[in-house]
Symmetry: C4
Amino acid sequence: MSGTETKLVEQLVTANRILANEGIVDVFGHISVRSERNPEEFLLSVSRSPAAVRAPDIQRYRLDCTPLVEIKEKHYVERVIHGGIYQARPDIKSVCHSHSDGVLPYAVSGETIRPVIHMGTLFWEGIGWFDRYDPDGNLLVSTPSEGKALAESLGNRRAALLKNHGSVVVGESIVAAVMAAIYLDKNAQIQMASAIVGKPVFIEPEMGKIASRVFHSPLVQERAWGYWVARLPKGWESDAGLG
Amino acid sequence: MSGTETKLVEQLVTANRILANEGIVDVFGHISVRSERNPEEFLLSVSRSPAAVRAPDIQRYRLDCTPLVEIKEKHYVERVIHGGIYQARPDIKSVCHSHSDGVLPYAVSGETIRPVIHMGTLFWEGIGWFDRYDPDGNLLVSTPSEGKALAESLGNRRAALLKNHGSVVVGESIVAAVMAAIYLDKNAQIQMASAIVGKPVFIEPEMGKIASRVFHSPLVQERAWGYWVARLPKGWESDAGLG
Amino acid sequence: MSGTETKLVEQLVTANRILANEGIVDVFGHISVRSERNPEEFLLSVSRSPAAVRAPDIQRYRLDCTPLVEIKEKHYVERVIHGGIYQARPDIKSVCHSHSDGVLPYAVSGETIRPVIHMGTLFWEGIGWFDRYDPDGNLLVSTPSEGKALAESLGNRRAALLKNHGSVVVGESIVAAVMAAIYLDKNAQIQMASAIVGKPVFIEPEMGKIASRVFHSPLVQERAWGYWVARLPKGWESDAGLG
Amino acid sequence: MSGTETKLVEQLVTANRILANEGIVDVFGHISVRSERNPEEFLLSVSRSPAAVRAPDIQRYRLDCTPLVEIKEKHYVERVIHGGIYQARPDIKSVCHSHSDGVLPYAVSGETIRPVIHMGTLFWEGIGWFDRYDPDGNLLVSTPSEGKALAESLGNRRAALLKNHGSVVVGESIVAAVMAAIYLDKNAQIQMASAIVGKPVFIEPEMGKIASRVFHSPLVQERAWGYWVARLPKGWESDAGLG
């Protein structure tokens, strides 16, 4: 249980369901949020498919990924992704790890995702590349050293690809992280289709930096969040207030 | 509120939902209609996702994009697209701006969409190309000068692409604009797939001009509109009569 | 109204809805059946989107496409496709004309659809190609001479492509025609994807001829029909018994 | 009827519906399970679309594919796929045969599916290739000799492609076979998209062997199964307890 941060837990549950409904996560993938009352802790579900996450599933972890409360259920082994990034990036409040269909071809081929549409300008600073799995690794980011290496690959950027695996995106809020996950996938899909049609013209960083600002405005974030919530199947938002 | 044009407002609300349901708009995108009682005004929602637009959201604007009534809610910053086109094109009654998946690869690569299927002959006059964003631009068409430049790029045509951004289509009625938005996307998708399969054969303008006529017949427009309305999820059409 | 052939009308209505639900037809496209009581007549809806067709919409036409009963509603202008084929092909009981997404890239590029999967062996005899639109044509097959020319392009085969337009498939029954429409589209889709992945290996006609037999067995046709009916949205089959 | 193995029958029914809902099977395709009380027998539905399979449809077969109980309904002619593999692979408890869209392009082109994403490491041992249809064959695997040849093509692997036809996957349980069917398709789709984007980097067998282990953990299998069950349309799981 998450203590007193009821509102944040509720939003995190909804974020799980949005990401499932928008096809960003499926059996696997997870999103976390940094605690508001203690920035040295973060909130993340126990090991669950995001579509099935409910408020009581949300756990509280220290940044070294040890849980504050012992539970019988399993933790995500990849929670080191979250802990590693929260340690390296004090500016970041939410982390999402996924393997969405639009992004995977880039994680598999090693080609770079670059902004081609307005929403893609969120990534005007470029995209990190992680392939420093432990030598005896299993393609999961499951050890503290892998979590640390991933945070280094991410650097100051908003997203990184994980070789043959997926992506991680970060945001200044849950909404910002959800938006980054959805728009990284969308930009990737359009980039691929553009390469079929002709030659994609990338948006230059200077333009991208300016163009991306609109996605940080509360008005636009609320509009987007409201849209994603409205698309949830009936009942999917109904448990979100528990906690 | 829109004054006395209840029927037109109702149709505009339905158009918003059709475009959302057919995947032409998502969080973003908008459709407007020129007022019937005063051609120097147009109707457009406040800043909303099209799926969420209801009759009370519809506002009345002068062609310079100033609202007739002051409201607390935000206006679309891109309403200059609509105002600019209504000024330049007295023949046009409805304008739709979107970023649909089929069209974006062409807006990104700079390749041209050309008619390859019957529905695509709506665009037998060709497609405009807009890239004259303001020098300090943010990839939005948000200033009067950008709106004017976009209208020039459109010229006398039915559609224009906006570089790295999306498209605008116009029509002699709401139904015609919705049809143009849906069929521009469809033609673009088939054109891309045709280029994978072989070499697309384009429909020549003379043939296209003749072939396009059927889409202006009231019978066909009603059939299409009825089909799109029937596909709306239960309840989506139920608010459309408000106003 | 269709006179006494209630069962056939009911099946034709269901076929319209199946084709709509499986994405083979949308605003446009139509399926007809030869009358059982008089092979010189066929049954076809008035001008309607297939998803909206109900039993009272089904009309009776002579093979020259004149209606037996005068009505106020409009007829499909392309009903000459049906009349032309029923005249040329006494073996055929059902005709379907559509513009499905999988097939269109071949109609646009002029590339041939050839059997690559088991269901595609229905087309082991090859696919016809029609491009003999009237000189002042509008890309519709709307005159008796175009209907006749299309039937010639079809020849003894089960399917033909219409340049920049779509396809026509035929069957020994409504079920057979629906199956042909769905599997022509599926084979086309897989053929395209196979060409992306590598080089498609086509199924030779001798093998195809044998392999196709299973799709003419009543057991398999019933299984397929039952599957498509079960996939109809709730309520879509409920009007099918009217008439 | 299946005698006393009620739980297993129930799980097999659910597996049929999951595979239908996830787009792995449609009109055709089937999944079986080896009997727990007698490993010389297996359970499989009568000839039905998987979406329509109910507990009373499940039959009991000897490994030579003769049914234990005579019934009026038809058996799948391709049940020799199941019998052939159960004979050759005592380690295997479940077999699934399908023609999913992601896999077919590889079965058509003869290109190999190789692991490119984590889920694809289930196939780290490679994929078999079957093209030894009987000389007078019909592209079905319908004779005992074809079933035996297919089992040989499969070898000790988890999956094999059937030329111009589809695939077979095997598992140590129903859940494992369902997972293999879904992830073979997913890996194939991403492999194709990766080849469009750039050049896919395959996961080497040593890495794949280690990375695949997580998919055999009960925790992960339960999470996946629970996710697929939760996605079933309302009512689809409600018959699953019959038997």
